[in-house]
Symmetry: C2
Subunit: 437 residues, 2 copies
Amino acid sequence: MKRFEASPVTVQQALRSLSAAGEIETRPGVGTFTRAKPVLRGVDFSWQTAALGTPQQKLEPATSLRSEPGNVIALHSGYPRAELLPVRLVRSALSRAARGNAAVSRADSAGMPELQSWFAQELESSMLPGLAAPSARDVVVFPGSQAALSALYRSLIGAGEPLLIESPTYWGAMLAARQVGVRLVPVPSGPDGPDPVALERAFAQTRARAFYAQPNFANPTGAQWAPESARRVLEVVRANGAFLIEDDWAHDFGITASSHPLAAQDSDGHVVYIRSLTKSVSPAIRVAAVVARGPARERLLAEAQAQAMYVSPVLQEAAVDVVSQPGWRSHLHSLRARLQEQRDHLAAAVSQHVPQAELAQLPTGGLNLWLRLPDETDLVELQDRCRVRGVMVAVGDEWFPAEPTGRYIRLNYAGADPAAFTDAAAVLGQELEQVKF
Amino acid sequence: MKRFEASPVTVQQALRSLSAAGEIETRPGVGTFTRAKPVLRGVDFSWQTAALGTPQQKLEPATSLRSEPGNVIALHSGYPRAELLPVRLVRSALSRAARGNAAVSRADSAGMPELQSWFAQELESSMLPGLAAPSARDVVVFPGSQAALSALYRSLIGAGEPLLIESPTYWGAMLAARQVGVRLVPVPSGPDGPDPVALERAFAQTRARAFYAQPNFANPTGAQWAPESARRVLEVVRANGAFLIEDDWAHDFGITASSHPLAAQDSDGHVVYIRSLTKSVSPAIRVAAVVARGPARERLLAEAQAQAMYVSPVLQEAAVDVVSQPGWRSHLHSLRARLQEQRDHLAAAVSQHVPQAELAQLPTGGLNLWLRLPDETDLVELQDRCRVRGVMVAVGDEWFPAEPTGRYIRLNYAGADPAAFTDAAAVLGQELEQVKF
């Protein structure tokens, strides 16, 4: 202060900046010092190899989690860009939560009652009349749907047991299964959903007690099950005394169709329903819910408690605040139009610049185009070459529980500015010519 | 609006209140209706019994998670009361995070670099000179220490494998172990820490690869290991090629002593260090870190990704904001004095009104008194009778991995207003007279 004739506040700010930059360090009760040079000798951790053994499962996250420098065109990501989020609602909700009781309290393990109630009511609003609707008590809140999947697999299935799963499907659902040690049994799924006969066969062969699926705007294909398929799948699940783990990840991302949860046709607890707000509200609002009824709910809740104790009430309160605002409805309304625009823009650019790519169907919801490329394509080489030229794409192999049935890539039309789509498609088209086996 | 001559805003507010109270429901695209009467027939979920089978482990959370009505004296809880939290800092930090980029973005699975860096630097600041300090990269951020424990057990130990654990110790650490299927091997631990010879014997008998312990202000006893014990335990762990999972839960709750992490004496990755901010910053800031080095860190990070993907950047940014403020240091300073006052007040009240209770040691840090009661005490009856009279206490049995070695209760001196301590102790003393076997 003396030397620079600066105020105490200025000096404290300077110290904080230097500390954040790692230039100085404070040893409490001693003083503040310029940072000591790090010890550079390599440490030998090889003893750990014996303690750890070989891993039971290689757990590797997929491409779509990769963060990217600001200047690339991110078609690989699993999230919508910030411009498609209800940013103003999220900021006000978090600010309100910061001022309230939620900021300094904990929550019940099952979740905050207002949020449980909102999830139950949302599902009830699409139920057929006469069916017993879920209650707020049937809802368990998790810190994101990944945690929900882990807890569901552990509580409903268990290590070593089989789980039927759509193929292709969400890599995170398979990652959680590998983590828990659940044995994946792929069931092929097309534009109308899985073939009920194939599903019946898989149940008979494996005696599985659960089937994981995304009936609405599946990740990655965008498929929405035909109503008749949905009805028959539900029959097969019921007849086998099994659970359908329905992941309604794209509930808020309908474009020319809306999500119709199968859980809305179920009142005897066969459908266990996952609904996340992370992608549509904000990736910072890590809140998902599982609606499960009967003993399954008890088993799941015990698991949730042992796994995470409870979810931050700040995030829960902000979540219920956002989705209760009138602005949330209007946001979803305009989101629909913007997703349609982004989808059509990317589909047109791909069709013009990547004529070799085959789009099985223009999705009626969700965030992704699922493109089949010629069988002689070297996908990893394609991904690398595109990345070098500033375009990130996701290799389709990551969405198959077993060997991929073709050469696919997934392009997210919601994660980047559509102004860049033509350039990105041109790069993809050019590089595709270079990467034949 | 017409009928009541009210503004659209007023009507919308009324509709939101009615909706929150469950009186009306909105079906999108159709309209708003008074809520349909619920379907009352009981649903038969008994088919689930066959699908679920019997649980591998009964997972039951402990008394100290129980929430209580506002008018009881809560001596059972595991948390400090709001008056002992840096409430103003937490609110400003959350408000700032609400306005920044963190509110609408995701984070790396390992955590936000600023927060990783803070945890690494905090540990470094108590390291002996000459030891290789951990880097920010050695830190993995979790949504609370319960999630960290699950991930650690799964990645470092594995289902069916043994884990040495202090007895008595934190029930959450045992709950996570049961959830993962880890086999607990109790090692008795006294006021100076575990007996290194008993620890060596347990390693030899079980070939365990890890030991879970709380060397500073252990929950529930408050014990802080003597420096010589700490050194010898670390030697035993090293000699057995094992990990010490050090849970420094009470790092911020020193009273007449400060926490001296064993991790600060380790540079070859034998100590895996858990540091949570949930109890000292705010229960709503569910953020904990694990400092792990070498291959253990890689294994742990893969597990963290599969389990929760990432922790909300809002909570991470708020956490690093709070602990970087000058006000955090002064808060910790005044917290020390207030904890001492609360501790002494409760200890005095117990000594006066519950002369039968034996306090082995006045803890030098932490949040709890660990009281031994006469061997003929019916603890559950005592807990029930006290609750009826508005005093919540925690039965000590929950802190023992096996059968309890005596009749203990744990009283938290930080969770309630000390003005009520004398009354609470009087109730406890009176009821204790009534519950002899």
